[in-house]
């Protein structure tokens, strides 16, 4: 089939690669416009655009997916099907109507759980044991279309959202390819999602990633920190400045007030609402990321000092 692939970040690459290497023909990719990124705010090509450039495939970057010029070009191309992985913008009905077989989205949860922008972060944050990936036909409502296929994936005890998403991107790519095959062969019949047990996973803001050592139990802090790693990254305040934090590990010990720091030879502990947690790595403003022990030695933490 003639495909136009829509996707933007790194996590879309395994799917795009799988489709490029398949019996189908990827004639163009749609991706979010180049955006300034990182320190120095250099304008960078999206990972999907970069791979498409490498393979000599046309790249479309409409500012919004309803742009008439974009829709015209899409009609000219005339795709049979448009697979989507983390494109990052809504598709208006005018775009949905163009490909013969519609648009198929690979979403990183077992729908109807965790519709929305941050399903993997929500799964880690809520302590789900099992999550997965789903392919479904895109309809106007958010992540609500009929489902073609599902794979499941266990959430491991120390998974960060980034690690889990990495595995889902790989298993999801296989699912997406078999979905595209099945649609072409006419062997797949999509099934409507159940109406009950719908949940939503809004995108995670920087404020959502603040660790509140005073009011949160150690086990919950552990999940929150893993859920927001690497994006947007956990943080707390130390001496009035923002301190970025990597994952934290609960330990079964006692004796620290909420937020209180204790520096040992090989560990830095912080008190929580329950038992303490061990800090892994930290990044102070304007500094490089470093092991928490190195940081603690550098800033000379005094007895009783707190992080909040």
């Amino acid at each position: 089939m003639r495909l136009v692939f829509a996707g933007t970040p790194e996590v879309a690459l395994p799917s795009l690669r799988a489709l490029l290497d398949s019996r189908h023909e990827v004639v163009a990719v749609v991706t979010r416009p180049d955006a300034p990124a990182g320190r120095g705010r250099k304008v960078e090509r999206s990972p999907v655009a970069a791979l498409a450039d490498e393979r000599g495939i046309e790249v479309l970057t409409p500012a919004k997916a309803g742009d008439p010029a974009f829709l015209d070009r899409l009609r000219e191309i005339g795709p049979d099907l448009c697979p989507v992985v983390a494109y990052g913008a809504l598709l208006p009905e005018s775009a949905l109507a163009i490909p013969r077989h519609g648009w198929v989205n690979l979403h990183f949860s077992v729908l109807p759980a965790w519709r929305g922008a941050a399903p993997v972060q929500a799964a880690v944050r809520h302590g789900d044991d099992i999550t997965g990936a789903t392919t479904f036909r895109i309809v106007k409502a958010l992540d609500a279309g009929p489902v073609f296929g599902v794979v499941t994936e266990r959430v491991r005890e120390r998974d960060t959202a980034g690690e889990l998403l990495g595995r889902l991107a790989e298993s999801g790519a296989k699912l997406l390819l078999s979905t595209v095959d099945g649609i072409e062969d006419g062997t797949l019949r999509p099934v409507e999602q159940p109406e009950e047990n719908v949940s939503y996973a809004p995108k995670v803001s920087v404020d959502d990633a603040r660790l509140d050592f005073a009011c949160t139990p150690a086990a919950a802090l552990d999940r929150v920190a893993r859920a927001v790693t690497p994006e947007p990254g956990a943080w707390a305040e130390f001496r009035g400045e923002r301190l970025k934090l990597g994952p934290v590990t609960p330990v079964d010990e006692e004796g620290l007030a909420p937020g209180e720091l204790r520096v040992e030879r090989k560990r830095v502990l912080v008190g929580t609402a329950t038992t303490p947690v061990v800090l892994s790595d930290v990044q102070a403003q304007g500094k490089k990321r470093m092991a928490a022990t190195d940081w603690a030695r550098g800033v000379r933490i005094e007895a009783g000092e707190r992080i909040s």
Partner: protein, 475 residues
Amino acid sequence: MTQRSSRPSRPRGPHPPRRRTGPARPPVEDPARLAALDTLRAVRQRDAYANLVLPGLLRDRRITGRDAALATELAYGTSRAQGLLDAILAACSDRPLSEVDGSVLDALRLGAYQLLRTRIPAHAAVASTVDLVRAELGSGAAGFANAVLRRVTGQDEAGWIDEVAPDEETDPVGYLAMAHAHPRWIAQAFAEALGSRGEPLRAALTADDARPAVHLAARPGECSADELAAMTGGEVAPHSPYGVHLEPGAGDPGDLDPVREKLATVQDEGSQLCALALTRAPLEGPDERWLDLCAGPGGKAVLLGALATLSGATLDAVEKAPHRAELIRKAAGDLPVTVHVADGRDSGLPAGGFDRVLVDAPCTGLGALRRRPEARWRRQPSDVAPLARLQRELLTSALELVRPGGVVAYVVCSPHLSESVGVVADVARRTGAERLDTRAAFPGVPDLGGGPHVQLWPHLHGTDAMFCALLRRPA
């Protein structure tokens, strides 16, 4: 061999000698403060609206991220606090503010705001402001600005309020007005609507002086509040079934995908509730013809149009200004909305032709001051009477357009009694319209008072201070 471009190359050789022009002055590299200052100047010189000027400046000058956030905080915050800042600056200046050059005064307000209401260190606030003044007006003005701002640093906001505000015991309204940076007459109007000069007034003024969250309305039938919250990272609103709140300062909501794709609009939750109240009022007989008599710029018309689609009704929208009527047409898209360019007092529509009519009347906007930074200092007490007269005429007209037994919702974004209770009581008396218990059309909303009308408040409901009264035309 490579081909040389045919474009003429730059002349070779040494650069021409630099001309010396007086003492070198360092350029001001402070785009955020400069944008804030230029906004204040536009507001002062040409009666501009801060929240229309600033976004354009930020776009044109490509100011983004933290600089944009700082410019917004400074421009809006300074506009909001102007009266309080002026009282403090007057106490710190050896000449009357009326004799200070307008541009210097803008800069002084900007500097004083940073000193009193932000966490910017005092030395940075003073130095950056003095730099702006020096770059624009020379070192004489800079010296004056420096001297005044140094005096402002002598106390914090609370200390200054104690010094410049009326005595709290003898003039509680005057004191609260100054302490929360409101003109006295507006604080007085709030006090009358609240029936309080004490804690409720303090709470209302405090909430009115805070930076409001942006509210979105999911378009009924297109997406749910849950979906909208998931798409935008906002929170589902507490009272409106279509509402979502975004964090304050979350950037330009017009850039959000769901807004651009017309799945949602930017609309205060209070406006949503008042439009919904019209549809929730009990009605006997047909319920197919709805009318929005003062529809521009179209927020409530779009919400009502979407609800009309779902219930098989149609909406007529009346707007006097052709360009605003065009805005409504665009926003309504394929909804069953017919737009008429006409004065609501003389619309030419058939008398008794509608089952439900909304009158969202032009008003002083005292209930939406938190969303219009400079408005509180621009409005005058003399604005109230002519608006109240217009409101009475519009409401009377609405009661003629609705069929016997039909319902009219009268809505203003002002708690001023002359524009709210006063208008409704007067028109009801003269037309014989029945006043319904409007609270029943706000299910689940707490603190609605003794009725029969509804007054929403920022400090109680997190909405603008919207007033809503439902009336029924006698059968």
